[in-house]
């Protein structure tokens, strides 16, 4: 068998990865053989080889037991390599690790200090919570060992123990306090570190250690004034590591405590003024000192000192120091925003730095500095930089500019101008919601629409490769094409522009035919063309031709739109003008609100009800990722929330539904419905047939409030289910639909919808809510409702309430029911339960096939994480009200 050194040589001599694999495979085979023969002589050599192989990324689990055997042997060399292997090949999550506890315990009590050191080091690096509990008394005892080498290792080992089992913190409090009086720097450093962890783990320890503030100040003073000590000197500074740790502990002790802060302020001032800042070590100390001054109850003078240090950092030529300064200024904003504002120009320069890390920090800092008074010059600078910056930075930068502009824009004109600039420069980098928001604003700014569409036309001429710009331009030309060619709504000082109708159509044609654009853009162009065909009668022949060309498109969506639109142009001239009327003003408030909701990724429970009632997989546990709702869909979907269930006696459900919706929606949406009467069945149907708008902001049809209902209707053939991607197409198939044939499924649909609607029409018995499950940490409430005509189906609204003071994450509720019951779980309203009474809801539907014969029962299981620890609770619910 070759030596470890020879193996390394052989591996290094390999020319290809395959050769290397062959050598490793051979070695591993030999080691496996030795393992199974329980070879003792070469055990440590084999383990050394395995460690090297492990570092190369090959599996080495078969060597784990070898580590344990070496650790259990008596000699120091075997133990040394055994512990090294243990730390390298295993981690705290492996069961095998528990087997080493006994050996560790023996070694912690060994007479040889180096063997104790090995055991402490291994325990400190990889111990699990159980081992921490088992071995804490040993470590505690070793804190008082006479040997400083053992004391310092025991201190760091204690840190690991406390991190694993915070309850043990109080046991370590007194010995840790004693460490602060030590002379040995290694012991002091580790002792201070232990104190910090104790303070974080227990408020009792914090109070206890606060009494040692003076000791710490003395330690710091001694180090600073000690003069040159070669053993601890780093570029002229004595033990910066110790200084930094003491400053850090002082920060914890001074936070929120005026007395302790007072005790330390002199020494902090001394450190801040006398530390040399021409070397990294000195700057590291200054960094820590500034952090401490910012966090404690410092005097104004001290704070000025700190901010000035940051100012010096910021103008430093060293990138590292500037990076750190930007980071710290971010924290300093809350302490003294005015002082940070003074460095605005320097920070702006950092945004343009060649170093990505610095740029990113600076941009984030600058973002915090923007306010109403400086937004205009700052935005101007940033947009100018956007023009020249690296492509990979454009995404971040444009996102930040957009949010600055959205947040601080003094008026809509400025907003639109800036957004158009961003889209022209970095239109390919902005997110969908940015241009969705822009369209909503344009739609609301009636007096600026003419100006906007003309600006977009101009921007298109120079930046037609920026796809989102093109989308907005296409949408606006479709909507406001007449304003474009007739120069309506001209603003003062606006450059006059002559655009013919055919120029406008050129833009749309270019957008439609550019192969690099995606379907959304091209589909939007088709809709815009349809709109223009009635706005620009002279061009309608040309438009018709362009639309017809797409009949042969390989993209189904475009092909279908083309066919449908041609049919509208050919056969339905009489309704076309109504169909393509201008979009009603989009509701800005609803958009903003919905956007906030969707960005928080918490969907309301009603919405998830509806979602799953449209036939999407049943029995979803909660926490399942839901398709992100496009903001504009939300904007338009208010209707079904408010639609009351039609009374069961009404004959024509579909018609009723339409009538109700038409009446309901106009006031709610603030949308003027172009359909004047409910008698025009075709139009009504059209409005229903609008597929949901996804990833697309173009609700081009005059009335689309009912979009959300579509998923339920789609199986009926009213709308082609395939068309879910883009919106606005008019369905030629609609004429074939007979309302009567649709009646039964529609009833179903309404049944599903009705959980939040009034149920006054029929005598539905009321059921009391129950507590389905309760433990010390969690309560689950069930409330029940039934739909008229479906006595066997129970709708259950489950509310989960967090009774503890810890936040629960990754919350998942699962339920099991007897065979005669069908259970459907809708996605929950979230998967995080905030501490102290935070709750989420989830909707369940129970279909009892043996209604009135057998009672409901349910077994439940709840899994969640507290502080990344998995928790599991289970229970049985037998107390359902009778009759369910």
């Amino acid at each position: 068998m070759v030596s470890c050194r020879d193996m390394i040589r052989a591996i290094r001599a390999c020319k290809t990865a395959a050769e290397e694999r062959a050598v490793v495979r051979k070695e591993c085979a030999a080691i496996r053989a030795a393992v199974s023969e329980n070879d003792q002589d070469y055990r440590h050599r084999n383990l050394a080889k395995l460690m090297f192989i492990h570092m190369l990324g090959y599996p080495t689990h078969f060597g784990q037991m070898e580590c344990l055997k070496l650790i259990a042997s008596s000699g120091f060399p075997e133990k040394r390599i055994g512990y090294l292997g243990l730390m390298l090949l295993l981690d705290e999550r492996q069961e095998v690790l528990m087997l080493v506890t006994n050996s560790l315990k023996q070694d912690l009590n060994h007479s040889n200090q180096y063997i104790v050191g090995l055991a402490l080091c291994a325990l400190g690096n990889i111990c699990s919570a159980e081992m921490a509990r088992d071995l804490a008394p040993e470590v505690e005892r070793l804190l008082q060992n006479s040997n400083p080498n053992i004391r310092k290792k025991a201190a760091l080992c204690s840190i690991r123990i406390i991190r694993k089992v915070p309850d043990l913190a109080e046991n370590f409090m007194k010995p840790a306090g004693a460490f602060l009086g030590e002379k040995h720097h290694g012991v002091l450093i580790t002792g201070v570190q232990l104190c910090m962890d104790l303070c974080k783990a227990s408020s009792e320890a914090l109070e206890y250690l606060r009494k040692h503030t003076k000791d710490l100040v003395r330690v710091l003073k001694n180090v600073i004034t000690s003069g040159y000590t070669p053993e601890y000197d780093i570029s002229g500074i004595t033990d910066p590591f110790l200084q930094i740790r003491v400053l850090r502990l002082l920060r914890i002790l001074g936070q929120g405590d005026a007395d302790a802060s007072d005790v330390m302020s002199d020494i902090l001032a001394q450190v801040a003024t006398s530390t040399e800042s021409n070397k990294n070590a000195g700057n590291a100390i200054l960094y820590e000192c500034v952090e401490t001054i910012m966090s404690i109850e410092a005097t104004g003078g001290l704070r000025v000192l700190a901010i000035n240090i940051l100012g010096r950092f910021l103008s430093n030529r060293d990138n590292n120091i500037r990076y750190v300064a930007l980071n710290m200024l971010m924290k300093a904003i809350t302490v003294d925003g005015q002082a940070v504002q003074r460095h605005r120009t320097t920070i702006l320069e950092c945004v343009k730095d060649s170093d990505a890390s610095i740029r990113k920090r600076a941009l984030e800092l600058l973002f915090l500095l923007v306010n109403d008074s400086n937004v205009k010059p700052l935005t101007k600078e940033l947009i100018e930089y956007l023009e020249v910056c690296d492509p990979e930075f454009k995404g971040d930068l444009s996102a930040k500019i957009c949010s600055i502009v959205e947040k601080f824009s003094p008026d809509k004109l400025w907003y639109i101008d800036q957004m158009l600039k961003v889209l022209s420069e970095a239109g390919n980098f902005v997110k969908d919601e940015v241009w969705h928001a822009l369209i909503v604003v344009i739609s609301n700014a009636t007096d600026l629409q003419g100006y906007t569409v003309r600006s977009l036309y101009k921007a298109f001429q120079t930046s037609s490769n920026q796809e989102t710009l093109v989308r907005v331009a296409v949408w606006c030309i479709g909507e406001y094409g007449d304003l474009l060619v007739n120069n309506i709504g001209e603003l003062d000082g606006e450059e006059p522009l002559t655009v013919t109708e055919s120029d406008a159509v050129d833009v749309l044609e270019a957008a439609l035919k550019r192969p690099s654009f995606d379907i959304t853009t091209r589909a939007m162009a088709l809709v815009a063309l349809l709109k223009l065909s009635s706005r620009f009668p002279p061009c309608s022949k040309r438009i018709k031709d362009i639309i017809i060309q797409q009949k042969g498109s390989l993209v189904l969506e475009l092909q279908q739109r083309s066919i449908e639109f041609s049919s509208v142009i050919h056969k339905h001239e009489n309704i076309k003008s109504t169909l393509v009327e201008r979009m009603p003003v989009l509701d800005e408030a609803a958009f903003v609100g919905k956007r906030a909701v969707s960005s928080a990724a918490t969907l309301s429970s009603e919405k998830s009800n509806r979602k799953s009632s449209s036939g999407i997989p049943l029995n979803l546990p909660n926490g399942v990722s839901k398709p992100a709702a496009a903001p504009l869909v939300d904007l338009l979907d208010l209707s079904s929330d408010n639609a009351p269930t039609p009374s069961a006696s009404t004959g024509d459900f579909l018609h009723d539904l339409l009538g109700v919706d038409l009446m309901q929606n106009s006031p709610i949406q603030g949308m003027s419905q172009p359909t004047t009467t409910g008698t025009d069945v075709l139009l009504d149907l059209l409005s229903i047939g609008t597929p949901p708008v996804q990833n697309n902001s173009s609700p081009k049809l005059p009335s689309s409030p009912q979009v959300k209902i579509l998923p339920q209707l789609s199986p009926l053939g009213v709308a082609s289910p395939k068309l879910s991607n883009t919106s606005g197409s008019v369905k030629a198939t609609i004429q074939d639909t007979k309302p009567t044939s649709n009646a039964p499924p529609v009833i179903d649909l309404l049944g599903d919808l009705g959980s939040n609607s009034s149920m006054a029409e029929e005598n539905v018995p009321e059921y009391p809510s129950i507590v389905g499950f309760q433990s010390s940490s969690l309560k689950i409430m069930f409330s029940f409702s039934k739909q008229p005509g479906q006595p066997q189906v129970t709708h259950v609204q489950a509310t989960f309430t967090n009774l503890s003071s810890n936040e629960y994450t990754h919350f998942i509720f699962q339920a099991a029911v007897p065979k005669f019951v069908m259970l459907r779980l809708d996605p929950a309203s979230g998967n995080v339960l905030p501490a102290n009474g935070g709750s989420i809801t989830q909707h369940l539907t129970l279909d009892n096939k043996q209604h009135r014969q057998k009672a409901l029962a349910m077994r439940i299981r709840v899994a969640y994480k507290v502080d990344n620890q998995d928790m599991l609770e289970q229970g049985q619910v037998n107390n359902f009200p009778p009759g369910l």
Binding site: M51, G75, I81, L84, N125, Q193, E231, D355, S357
Partner: protein, 167 residues
């Protein structure tokens, strides 16, 4: 519950060619995650230009790295830890290695990787600094090396004795 304040999550030594020379994980990462982390970070760090700052933001954490000859020394810390101090710790570790090997080079760390680990274990435990004196670390390592040497000598003398006795 309190936030875990771990000073150093892991230490990574990567060669300019992207070969891993030493890894030490103080936070639990599975084998799979480790491979991924190494791959990801070498992609980021090895491609950074020489004039840029020594910090890389990565998965909400921060990686402080410094290049010594052909080797990149990387340490991963929390986003709000003191990056400048980590640079000093890296340098501290390098100086100790240097003193031990006598002007250390990559080959020393390849063939004596276990020694590099022993030195690291005398410098850091649980992701925290253990000793600020290079001399003390050198002394402790030397003492332990001596123990190993003695044991070896003893073993070989016993082998010799057995060999002679059974001749």
């Amino acid at each position: 519950m309190f936030p875990i304040l771990l000073m150093i999550h892991f230490v990574l030594l990567i060669s300019r060619q992207g070969k891993v020379r030493l890894t030490k994980w103080y936070s639990p990462y599975s084998q799979k995650e480790r491979t991924k982390v190494i791959r990801e970070l070498s992609g980021v760090i090895l491609t950074r230009g020489p004039k840029l700052c020594n910090f890389v933001e990565w998965r909400g954490l921060k990686v402080v790295y410094k290049r010594y000859a052909s080797l990149y020394f990387c340490m991963c810390i929390d986003a709000d830890d003191n990056e400048l101090e980590i640079l000093e710790i890296i340098h501290h570790f390098v100086e100790i290695l240097d003193r031990y090997f006598g002007s250390v080079c990559e080959l020393d760390l390849i063939f004596n990787f276990h020694k590099a680990f022993y030195i690291l274990d005398e410098t850091l435990i649980a992701g925290e600094l253990q000793e600020s004196s290079k001399k003390t670390v050198a002394r402790l390592i030397a003492a332990q090396d001596l123990l190993v040497e003695n044991a070896k000598e003893q073993a070989s003398s016993i082998t010799n004795m057995i060999a002679q006795a059974t001749k």
